[in-house]
């Protein structure tokens, strides 16, 4: 169950091209599992930016000197993230969390491959820790446009049996995409389950590569969100349900983590004709 808290910035740091913000936010850390996210108000109380910004939770501490803290990694994208990047310790920010459905952990000791794109590696690091605590083997595949957009590769290396890195420009690891190296990793490690977080195109490629091998995948999607708590219906994508019926589901409450083979990747951004309630015979309205 999420809480709404007036958080306080404890620290800000730069990590390559990204910013890391740690907030004192009592009540959130205790409830957080890997894959959960927080939604922040931006711009202060008189802000003209009305909507919350969503960020995957990277690290939590249940009891610091000041109470529970939450850390997330972000890149400056538009006005809201630019405002966040300009915050300083002791600034106040309204935060809601933890939100969404987290990654589901396997029951037994299995071999897990974790695939992260850009800042998408942030929620995979606490997941790796949780998997290792259960005795799972963890292998990482991390990719980004360039070296400064990789996140957490050192921690990932420490927590895994192997790590493969790709960059678009070859500034670190192999030049190319994670999908270029993933097949070998899946086969070499006798992978049982794949977890992924990153851009939608990457998640699609990862889901397909896993599905081809009959390996289950769990992917954390990133859809544009207005509320993050399930009341606005903006964050939907077509997902196949347990009953085989496709629905436009809210990624903020039913996701952001979905089974990779349930997301209709071809149809994201559209309303496929066989989705429940389609086609729109009557049009219009809001």
């Amino acid at each position: 169950m999420p809480v709404q808290v007036l958080g306080e910035v404890l620290s800000m740091r730069r990590v390559g091209a990204y910013h890391a913000m740690t907030l004192v936010a009592p009540g959130i850390a205790e409830r957080t599992k890997p894959g959960h996210f927080v939604a922040l108000q931006v711009g202060g109380p008189e802000s003209s930016m009305l909507l919350r910004r969503a960020f995957a939770i990277y690290d939590v501490k249940e009891r610091g000197v000041y109470g529970g803290t939450v850390e997330f990694i972000f890149s400056v994208h538009g006005k809201g993230t630019a405002w966040l990047a300009a915050r300083r310790p002791q600034d106040k920010i309204d935060v809601v969390g933890p939100l969404g459905k987290p990654f589901r952990l396997p029951k037994g000791k299995v071999n897990a491959t974790l695939v992260g794109g850009g800042y998408g590696s942030a929620p995979l690091l606490p997941l790796a820790r949780a998997l290792r605590d259960r005795g799972c083997r963890v292998d990482f595949v991390l990719g980004a446009a360039s070296i400064d957009r990789l996140f957490g590769q050192l921690d990932a290396k420490r927590m895994s049996s192997s790590i493969a890195v790709t960059t678009d420009d070859g500034s670190m690891g192999e030049q190319g995409r994670v999908s270029d190296v993933l097949p070998q990793v899946l086969d070499r490690t006798r992978c049982d389950v794949v977890y992924a977080c990153g851009p939608m195109a990457m998640l699609r490629a990862v889901s397909e590569l896993a599905a081809e091998r009959g390996i289950p995948s769990q992917v954390a999607v990133e859809e544009s969100m207005a509320c993050g708590i399930g009341v606005c219906m903006t964050c939907v994508l077509p997902v196949i349900g347990d009953d085989g019926i496709s629905r436009m589901v809210r990624s903020c409450v039913e996701g952001p983590v979905f089974l990779g083979d349930r997301v209709r990747w071809n149809d994201v951004g559209t309303v496929p004709a066989d989705v429940l309630g389609a086609p729109m015979s009557t049009g219009g309205g809001h």
């Binding site: 709404q4 007036l6 009540g27 009305l50 919350r52 708590i229 903006t234 951004g269």
Partner: protein
Amino acid sequence: MSELTVRPATAQALPAVDLTTRLGDATFPNPVFTASGCAAAGQELEQFFDVRLLGGVVTKSIMLAPRSGRPTPRMAETPSGMLNSIGLQGPGIDAFLEHDLAWLAARGARAVVSIAGGSVEDYAKLAMRLRGQPGLAMVEVNISCPNVEDRGQVFACDPVAASGVIQAVRRNTDNRVPVFAKLSPDVTDIATIARACVNAGADGLSVINTLLGMAIDTTTMRPALGGVTGGLSGPAIRPVAVRCVWQVHQALPEVPILGMGGIRTGLDALEFVLAGASAVSVGTTVFGDPTAPIRVLHELAHALAQRGFERIEDAVGFAHRAPELYIPEEPDPVGDDEPLPARRSVGFEEDR
């Protein structure tokens, strides 16, 4: 660090203002409601506060059949507002009654069910399905929908089409349950539509729905919304909404109004009350601040108390009243037949 608080601040006492408000034949303990499409059916908000504390929960407009809505992106943030093109995604009336209204009833919340359709018959059927449902406090008719039988003309923009819908809903709704027509601001004269709806049997009016708007993404150089155009909401539209409430109250002073459009604070809500609203809905603000309706309720109560109102009822439409003239209650101390005493000359002290 000490001022870090978990919100909402618990059980803050409301000042001694009678907040009871009447909308048609229904009485609500206070005038702050959610807005249709901005609170789903209350369950998600219940994680943040007790939805029974609200005057009522206005549910997302429901249609007869399940509906998938429009393609993404469905939202674009604009200065102090947002555009949405959700396309009335919803589970259809059967699932709504079974899961959503049943939950609200069990919770003891007052449900204002918003209905939407593509034809007069759709609306009539929806009203029939709602008959006798426990928990139903009021019906809000979203007439900002295209009429499939009239080349997609929006009901809310045509007094005849709007009356047809309202008449059908009123006829098929329990007598004790008020029917409110929700008006669109995208019309030449909102009072004309308001009057048509009231003549067709509406017990009150919800004012306003979103304004039609559009944004273009300058990177892709394409419309920002999957649905191309969308509804504008949030504080950006508040002056338009206050104007609409003012005009409707002026034209129909006896008809109760549920006012909305960009309410963010208690003073914003008070503006609507002073313009003529008996209750208000908090919509888009909830996306950025899930506990906002409770905050607005407290702020409104304090704002009324500060201004000396003992009952919210007395503040409804107050801004329409002419500044009052001073009429002495005592008879003139000087009798009619007595001559006025001569005026004395006044001397002033020197400035030191």
